[in-house]
Each structure stands twice: as structure tokens, then as C-alpha cells.
């Protein structure tokens, strides 16, 4: 497969590349002066993030735009990273050749599926200003950095190097730069603000790349900083082999032609994912091929027959051939905790709900949907909510209305979850922002512009389900907030107002101040639970305090249960009451007897978390009398958590070994009730 890129590149060499660029600049992202600059920043930043991720480096990304000639709209763009750097001999290829790059033919989730890469920026600069792009690159093993100007010979699709030198690269603070790349180009472009701007692109990028530190200096010299909020790099993703359901005829023909395998079963087993030995034999049988046939010598009809078997059109005993689903470790979701951090970094608000669905498969392509919702005061209450769309961690900024992800948001009746939505359809209104991220090995766009995802029923349903689940979280939060406000009022009543009434009436009548206990019980006539989850800056722990007040006239007994981020690696400490683990992420304490007027207190701390990771603890109870401020435990929910836990425990077996049942061609049903990452059901 390594030859495909070269082949494609050499095919394209025939036409003048500048002509090709000129003709196709709309889908290369250089159609307007406003968009060109965003595309240029995007190519640079995507490269930097991908390079850092591969080299397992926490990225520090600097972007600077300088005005050079305002009348002619000439600007200078500088992007700099702390990635591994590019070796001197590769620089020409990386910056001077279309379609170069290790990721082009690998099947895995990567940012760089979009655009033609940084070469486009070099070309655009050259076409609009005649200037070469300056590259400064240093790898850790070299003492000096290479400084070189790159231009393009558009006829030969080759780089023209000039002024090459090796220099010492110093940071602003005069320390030596260890590794990284700086790209400086001059181009015709217009900087603008608003929803479609470099600023918005970087802001969105920082949300889905919480491990990156991004500083942007705009043309007015204003500096915007999105700090790193986690030290955790995105999980390393493995490349996977193509799955029979996702293959096209041309690709299959090429694979057969290039195969050196001696027999079909070996070819099918070693070049595709999801093909067991039995399936390989069945595929041959259905395609009327001998298992010993040599792939290289297959005739066009035979290849077509094989494809038909892949797609379930050729069957055995009227059944499509069972294939395993592709492995999903090629996906890198952001994960819920980091979505929370990313959102709260750029939007100042109290409530965030997130949802990462378990991976699913559509047409042989693994994908995973993640959504986040931030709600609260910081945002306008009467405007449509902001929809932040991402594909493989790349912000989508144009064509919002035509995008599958937007359609999924619009398909939800948000009114039942506490947002305004005239008619129950369309983008809801309210002080909220919705994030939607699709991670996939094969993102399908509506057009070459690669700004809107095309319709896909399975992805749509996954996204919609994620929205619904998240909406339920929002509704719960709003209900809880209302209840809490009521409870607070009651406490103000008995703690402040009632004593004042007693004291004032006693003083007017010149009588002793009466005792309040009886009145308090009558006024409250309830068991009340107060919960407080706060970050302790001194101990760097999250402190949780739960107080249960019995304001009824009888003694009560309860089990109190709380949720806590066990999956995310938190641990419970300083838990003096002890209690026991009830299920994954659920801890329980027994409150034996709580006499009228008495209170019981549960305190503990959570270690292994950072500030802002855990702001609200949900309290559940088992017992007869209702508790204000806590939710009666749904035993079914507990069973579900336990079930998930078992599945998680079982998933030590490598994914992909289980046979799938009820498989229909092109459609893989997700397990119902997936609520965890990598549920492993597939």
C-alpha cells in the first residue's frame, strides 16, 4: 500500500499543479481571503497536534498573525510547535509535495484527513505573494536547527529549497529550543472576528485538545491564551486493516493485484479485520472461489463476486457470512472528563453534562460519538445555543445547517430538558453550548469542502441517543437546582426567620423567648439532605460533605449512596464512617437511627482528581420516608451499573474475538444502555 501515495502523486504530476490548485481552491479551503487564513492556521495546527501526539509530547502551540500590508491584505502567519521536529532531509517532502504524509493510507482516526496539508499553504503563499515559506525545524538529536526557505516548482510537484542554513534556535527567554517546527508564510488573506475566525477555530481546537497549550497573538497584538488543562495525552491509536464492509471495488482490485499471498484464506485473514478462519472459508465458498486460489490471479468477475460476499449479497444457506466487527482501539475519543475540562476552560459556566457513547460500526468503519453540554449564566439566554462540531478533533466551522451533527441536535425535543425550542424542533435557545464530536476512521463529508458530515443513519441515531441521554442529565440538574433552592429557603426559614419571629414577638409581649423545636418539625416535616462538593486548595483533594437532617416526628433509618468518579481513577479517603462499595462508582453508608431533630454527617475526600473535575455529588437513598435533596435509589440503575461492570471485567479478552450475532450487512447494532467508554460489547 505504500505505493499508493506516490502513484497518485505521480498521476497528478501530469497537470500543472498550480492550475489544479486554482481550479480546486474552494474545496482546498482557499476560496476567500477570510477563509484562506483559517485554512492556513488549521493546516499548521493540525500538523503540530498530530506530530506531538505521535511523539507523545504535550503540545505547546503558538500562532501569530502580523499585518504586513493592510491595503493589499498581505499578512504574515507564524505557527510554532514543540513537536519532534522534521529531519532536514524530510522537509522538502513535507512542505513541498502534495499528498505526502504517513497518515494518508493508514486506516485510523487522524486529524489530517482533511485538506491537502501544509503544502497547500506553501503553494497559496507563493501564488498570492510570490514569497517562499520559511521553515525552522529542530530535532532533539541535532545540536542546531535547520533554517530553510521552501518554494514550489508547480510543474514538477517538487520543492525548491533556498537559503538553507543551520542555526541555533533560541526561545524568547534565551534558552535553547529542544525540538519543534516554526513555519512562517506571507499570504494574501483577511483576518476577521466572529463565528468563522482563526480565534474561533483555535478556541474550538483547545476545547477538544485539552492537553494542548495554545497561545494566539492576533493582528492587533492582543494575546489569547488557552492553557493546558490535563497532562494526559490522547490515547495512542493503532492503525487497523480495512473491514470487508467498508471496502470498495477499486481498493479490493488493487489489494488483490498487490498481494503476495499464496492462498485466498491467508489473504482474507491477514489483510482485513474481522475475518475469522471460518468466515474466510465461507467467503470463498459464497464467491465460488477455491480457498487455495492465488489472490493475484483473480479475474475481475471473481473479485466482484468476493465483494458481493463481503456485502452480504452472496450468502450461504440464505445467510450473510458472519464477520467480526472491526476493532475499535483505532479510535481516540476525548473522554467525558476531558470534554468537561475543555468546555469549562473556554466557557465560564456551572453545569456540564457529557456523554461518550461506546464505539459502534457503520459500513465497516468504527466510529464513536461524544457530546457535551454546558449550561449557565455566562451565555445569552435568548439566542440559539452554540453548536460546536468536531470530526476527529478537528473543528467544523462552516455549513452548520447541512451537517449530520446539527441535524441530530435539531431532532431532539429540547423543551422537555429545560431549553427553549419553538415548535420542538430546530436549534434550541438558551444559555447553553452543545459539543458534538465524531471520532471515526472514515469521516464522510457532504462535499470536498469537508465542513459538514453527510447523512448516515447509524451515526445519526448514535448522536441523537447521546443527546437524549445528555438532555436527561440537564433536566435532572435543573430539577435538582430547583429543589435545592426550595430547601435553602426552608433552612433560611427555620434558621433565621423563625428565631427572629420568636424573639420579636417575645419582646413586644414582654415574655420569654419560646423554644422552637416543635415548630421547626412542623414546618419542615421532612428529612432533608444537604450535599457540598468543594475543591480544597490546600490538600488538593475534593472534599464532600453530606448532612442528613431528620425534621420529622419519628426516628428514621436510611442507606445513603453517592456517585463518585471511580472509573476516572479517583479514590475515597478520610471516610470516617466507612461504609462499603455498592457498585462501580457507587459508595454506600448505613444510617441506623436518626432521631427526630437529629442530623447525621458523612464526610470524605476524593484523591486523584484535579480542580473542577468533580463539582457535584449525587446522593441517593434507600428508606421509606422521602428525602428532600436526595434521589430514591433506582435498584434497576444499580443492576445496570453492575452489569456494565461485569462486561468491563470481561473485556480483558482482546476486542474482536467475539462473534457477532444478528449481524446485518452494513448495520451493527450497539448494545442498549451503553454508558461507558469502551464498553467492549462488540
Amino acid at each position: 500500500m505504500a505505493g499508493i501515495a506516490d502513484k497518485m502523486a505521480s498521476n497528478q504530476k501530469q497537470i500543472a499543479i498550480s492550475e489544479f490548485f486554482e481550479k480546486n481552491k474552494h474545496f482546498l479551503g482557499f476560496d476567500t481571503l477570510q477563509r484562506s487564513i483559517i485554512t492556513a492556521v488549521k493546516e499548521g495546527v493540525d500538523n503540530a497536534l498530530d506530530a506531538c501526539e505521535e511523539a507523545r509530547i504535550l503540545p505547546d502551540i503558538r500562532v501569530k498573525i502580523n499585518k504586513i500590508d493592510s491595503k493589499k491584505d498581505i499578512i504574515e502567519l507564524i505557527t510554532e510547535d514543540n513537536g519532534p521536529g522534521i529531519p532536514q532531509k524530510s522537509i522538502e517532502k513535507v512542505f513541498g509535495q502534495l499528498l505526502f504524509g504517513s497518515r494518508f493510507h493508514a486506516i485510523r482516526q487522524s486529524r489530517g484527513q482533511q485538506g491537502i496539508g501544509i503544502t497547500g499553504v506553501v503553494m497559496y503563499s507563493q501564488l498570492t505573494t510570490g514569497k517562499p515559506t520559511h521553515i525552522l525545524s529542530k530535532v532533539a538529536s541535532d545540536a542546531t536547527a535547520v533554517s530553510v526557505n521552501i518554494g514550489l516548482d508547480t510543474r514538477k510537484n517538487k520543492a525548491i529549497k533556498s537559503d538553507q542554513d543551520r542555526i541555533i534556535w533560541e526561545n524568547d527567554d534565551h534558552t535553547f529550543k529542544e525540538h519543534g517546527v516554526r513555519v512562517t508564510s506571507r499570504m494574501k488573506a483577511k483576518y476577521q472576528r466572529g463565528r468563522q475566525s482563526v480565534f474561533q477555530y483555535l478556541r474550538m481546537t483547545s476545547i477538544v485538545n485539552p492537553h494542548a497549550d495554545i497561545i494566539f497573538t492576533d493582528p492587533d497584538g492582543e494575546v489569547h491564551h488557552w492553557p493546558r488543562v490535563t497532562e494526559r495525552l490522547p490515547g495512542k491509536v493503532d492503525a487497523i486493516k480495512p473491514h470487508p464492509h467498508g471496502i470498495e471495488l477499486g481498493q479490493l482490485q488493487r489489494m488483490c493485484k498487490e498481494s503476495k499471498d499464496s492462498r485466498m484464506t491467508v489473504f482474507l485473514r491477514s489483510n482485513f479485520s474481522g475475518v475469522s478462519m471460518r468466515a474466510a472459508k465461507e467467503l470463498c465458498e459464497a464467491s465460488e472461489l477455491a480457498v487455495t486460489a492465488k489472490p493475484k490471479s483473480l479475474k475481475p468477475d471473481q473479485i466482484r463476486a468476493l465483494l458481493e460476499s463481503f456485502q452480504g449479497e452472496r450468502m450461504i444457506n440464505n445467510k450473510a457470512i458472519k464477520l467480526l466487527s472491526p476493532p475499535t482501539n483505532c479510535l481516540s475519543p476525548i473522554e467525558e472528563m476531558l470534554i468537561k475540562k475543555g468546555l469549562s476552560k473556554t466557557i465560564d459556566s456551572k453545569f456540564i453534562a457529557t456523554m461518550t457513547r461506546a464505539p459502534n460500526v457503520s459500513h465497516g468503519n468504527p466510529f464513536q460519538v461524544e457530546v457535551g453540554l454546558i449550561f449557565g449564566e455566562g451565555m445569552a439566554a435568548d439566542k440559539p445555543v452554540e453548536i460546536l462540531r468536531f470530526a476527529n478533533r478537528v473543528p467544523l466551522m462552516y455549513q452548520q445547517g447541512g451537517c449530520l451533527l446539527t441535524k441530530a441536535v435539531e431532532s431532539v425535543d429540547w423543551r422537555q430538558y429545560g431549553l427553549d425550542q419553538p415548535g420542538g424542533r430546530g436549534v434550541p435557545k438558551g444559555p447553553a453550548a452543545v459539543l458534538v464530536h465524531l471520532a471515526s476512521t472514515n469521516v464522510q463529508f457532504t462535499s470536498e469542502a469537508k465542513e459538514a458530515l453527510s447523512d448516515n443513519e447509524i451515526v445519526f441515531e448514535e448522536t441523537r441517543k447521546a443527546m437524549l441521554e445528555m438532555g436527561r442529565g440537564l433536566r435532572k440538574h435543573l430539577e435538582k437546582k430547583k429543589k435545592m433552592a426550595k430547601t435553602r429557603e426552608k433552612f433560611e426559614l427555620i434558621n433565621d426567620i423563625l428565631p427572629a419571629i420568636a424573639a420579636k414577638s417575645a419582646s413586644i409581649l414582654n415574655r420569654p423567648v419560646p423554644a422552637l423545636a416543635g415548630s421547626i418539625t412542623k414546618i419542615m416535616s421532612a428529612v432533608i439532605c444537604e450535599e457540598e462538593t468543594v475543591w480544597n486548595t490546600e490538600t488538593k483533594l475534593t472534599d464532600v460533605e453530606i448532612i442528613l437532617f431528620n425534621y420529622t416526628s419519628r426516628a428514621r433509618s436510611y442507606s445513603l449512596l453517592v456517585n463518585w468518579p471511580e472509573k476516572e481513577g479517583a479514590e475515597i479517603t478520610a471516610n470516617e464512617r466507612g461504609g462499603r462499595k455498592e457498585a462501580m462508582g457507587i459508595w454506600a453508608w448505613k444510617i441506623e437511627t436518626l432521631d427526630p431533630g437529629e442530623q447525621a454527617r458523612v464526610t470524605y475526600s476524593l484523591s486523584g482528581l484535579e480542580k473542577g473535575d468533580w463539582n457535584e455529588t449525587e446522593v441517593f437513598f434507600r428508606g421509606n420516608q422521602d428525602v428532600i435533596g436526595a434521589t430514591k435509589l433506582d435498584e434497576k440503575m444499580l443492576e445496570e451499573i453492575r452489569r456494565q461492570e461485569e462486561i468491563l471485567g470481561d473485556s480483558e479478552i482482546p476486542a474482536g474475538e467475539e462473534e457477532m450475532n444478528g449481524f446485518e450487512p452494513g448495520v451493527v447494532e450497539g448494545q442498549p444502555g451503553q454508558t461507558t467508554l469502551f464498553g467492549g460489547e462488540q
Binding site: 419571629i501 414577638s505 413586644i508 422552637l516
Partner: protein
């Protein structure tokens, strides 16, 4: 004739009863409460003794089980304490001053002046005292009177001043003070056949300019919309002490009907003191629903709110008699309302030369 005893000790005792109710409930281990009559049209009934509408037996209990009503009880206690202090110091304050004074009451502070006004009314209702007993004055001033009536008013220097509301006043007439009780105002003498209450300032001025008061031997009083307590009280006193008829000349719309009801039968909000304020013998001169048709007056369509108000009036016990039911139904039927000043359609003098003489003639007053 009504008379009222201004007894500070009685006022204090009544206020203490309110406080005792709260205190005793706490001692019993119950939430403190304040019990007061329901103040809606569903709880007003005709009082045969006074010939006015008063609150019935329905009681509502405000108890401290919600934050809002608990705060209200605490405010009531602060107000009681404040009133006692004023009674003892011989001072008085406006309702607005009390609202500002409440700034220092901590948890018992008012959040709007409406709240303090309502609470003063609540206390009146519960104690059957008047806010004058509480040393609380309204912000609103009374209205204006023009006509040959003579009053004695105790001025700021403590001297009685004799004022004739025709000869001793300018064009704006005699200004009615907020307190028109006998310790402040004495009705001395008059030479009028009737007292005419007028809703709008424009019509009041028209009648004065046309010399209507002298031509027809009457006094004119300007209501300024929904009349203040002192306006209703002075009309009541003239009616009772001088035995002069009261006629009421208003716009022809549902809101004017309500104004008339509050003058003649008692207002729902002040039904606890209807016997002090209402003039049961007052009669409605116009604009009536049939006037709109009979005089072919320029009119406006009834709004949705107008229609709602008329329908509410149909079930209001104060409008239960046949004449009113007729008027209200007729207005609903024609779907029109008319202003007093629409009479100007026939010229500036039409109201004084034609309309009023005809209407007063029907009533036997000219």
C-alpha cells in the same frame, strides 16, 4: 352617623392580639400564623346595618411554612413595634417613610413599597383599626372641591381655619387633606342641593369654566380616577352630616362602574372599613350604556380586558341588582364604551346645557 373613637390603648391591644397569635402557636410547637379575612369579591357581603358591603366570615391563615409568608409575619411584627413606638412618641409617618425605615429591619425588611402598603392594610383588616390609628399616612393626596361649602380645617399651627370652597379658593379648588376626620375637618355650612363627583380633571374643569356649580347650586368634587380614601370619606361625611345627595358622573366603561361601586357600596380592598367610606345613597348619573346609544356618542370598541372586567362584574355581589345587570349586559351587547368628554361632539356647552340638566331632571334633582 358614624363615629370613631381614637383610642391608642385599644389600638395597641388589638395589635398585641396579632402578636399573641404568633407567640402562642410557637409555644404550642406549631408554625406561627396570622389569620385574616379573605379579601376577594367571594368574601364580601351586604351588611344590612350599614347598607354597605363588608367582608364575610371567610378567613385565610398565613402560616410560616413557606419562606415568603414567614417573612411576612416577621415584617408584621416589625410594623407592630414601629407603630407602638410612634404612638408613644406622638409621631406619624408616611407609608413610604415606613418602607425606607424598614431598611434597618434586617430579615424583616420590605422588598417593595407595595408590600408595606399591603401589610398596613392587612393589619387594619385584622385589628379593625384604621391606618390613622397606626399613625401611618398615605402618600396620595385627596381631591379638589369647588362649590359653596364651608369647612373648618385645623392648620399646621394648630388653628382652625374657615374656608369656603367657592369664595376662598382659586381655580384649582379646595384641596382635600389625607385626614378628614372630625379632629381635622369640621363641616360648617353649605348652600348646595347636591354634590357631584367627577372622574376626569378635564370634565371637572369644563363644568367650572361653564359655571355649572353656581348655575345649579351644587359642589363639584374631582375623583382623580379611583378615589383616595379621604375623597370617599369626605363625600360620605357631607352626605350624612348635611344630608345632601351624591351623584356620580364618570366615563362609560367597566372601570367606571367599579369606581362607582367603591363609592356607593364599598371597595373590595377596604371592605373592612366600608361603613366609614361608602355612601350607599350615591347615584350613578352617567355615562350609562344607554347614554352611548341615546346620545349617539363617539365610542371605542371594548378591549379583551374590558370584556373580562364586565364579566367579572356580572358575578360581583355589588352589581347584583337588576339595573346594574342590565347596564353591564347592554355594554357587552353593544361592545362599546365612551368617555365623559365624548359629549363634546355636540359642542363645549352641550354637557352643561343639555346632558346634565336632562339626567339630573330624571333624578329629580333639578
Amino acid at each position: 352617623m358614624m363615629s370613631r373613637v381614637n383610642d391608642p390603648e385599644l389600638t395597641k391591644q388589638r395589635l398585641h392580639e396579632v402578636v399573641e397569635e404568633m407567640y402562642d402557636r410557637i409555644v404550642k410547637g406549631e408554625p406561627p400564623t396570622m389569620t385574616l379575612p379573605v379579601r376577594t369579591k367571594n368574601n364580601i357581603g351586604f351588611d344590612k346595618k350599614f347598607g354597605v358591603f363588608k367582608y364575610g366570615k371567610k378567613r385565610s391563615t398565613r402560616d410560616a411554612t413557606s419562606l415568603g409568608s414567614a417573612k411576612n409575619l416577621l415584617r408584621a411584627l416589625h410594623v407592630v413595634e414601629f407603630i407602638e413606638e410612634m404612638i408613644e412618641a406622638g409621631k406619624s409617618s408616611t407609608l413610604r417613610e415606613m418602607y425606607y425605615i424598614s431598611e434597618s429591619w434586617g430579615l424583616g425588611k420590605f422588598s417593595s413599597q407595595n408590600e408595606s402598603n399591603n401589610l398596613a392594610e392587612d393589619l387594619e383588616v385584622v385589628t379593625t383599626c384604621l391606618r390613622e390609628d397606626f399613625k401611618l399616612r398615605p402618600e396620595e393626596d385627596g381631591s379638589r372641591i369647588i362649590g359653596n361649602v364651608t369647612l373648618n380645617e385645623l392648620n399646621r399651627r394648630g388653628q382652625w381655619m374657615r374656608i369656603n370652597a367657592r369664595d376662598d379658593v382659586g381655580d384649582s379648588g379646595y384641596g382635600v387633606p389625607y385626614n378628614v376626620e372630625s379632629e381635622k375637618i369640621e363641616l360648617v355650612e353649605h348652600d348646595i342641593k347636591f354634590l357631584m363627583a367627577i372622574e376626569t380633571g378635564g370634565m371637572f374643569d369644563r363644568l367650572i369654566e361653564n359655571g355649572f356649580d353656581e348655575a345649579y347650586d351644587c359642589a363639584l368634587i374631582h375623583l382623580k380616577g379611583q378615589p383616595a380614601r379621604s375623597t370617599r370619606r369626605i363625600m360620605k361625611r357631607m352626605n350624612e352630616e348635611w344630608d345632601v345627595p351624591v351623584v356620580v358622573f364618570l366615563d362609560g366603561d367597566p372601570w367606571s362602574f367599579r369606581i362607582f361601586a367603591s363609592i356607593a357600596y364599598g371597595a373590595i380592598k377596604t371592605a373592612h372599613i366600608s361603613e366609614y367610606l361608602a355612601t350607599p345613597s350615591a347615584s350613578y348619573l352617567g355615562i350609562t350604556s344607554d347614554d352611548i346609544i341615546a346620545y349617539d356618542l363617539p365610542s371605542d370598541d371594548l378591549s379583551k380586558k374590558d370584556i373580562e372586567a364586565l364579566n367579572a362584574e356580572l358575578s360581583d355581589p355589588r352589581f347584583a341588582d337588576g339595573w346594574w345587570q342590565n347596564q353591564i349586559n347592554m355594554m357587552l351587547e353593544i361592545g362599546k364604551k365612551a368617555e365623559q368628554q365624548s359629549l363634546a361632539k355636540y359642542g363645549l356647552d352641550f354637557v352643561t346645557d343639555t346632558y346634565l340638566p336632562e339626567k339630573l331632571g330624571e333624578m329629580g334633582l333639578v
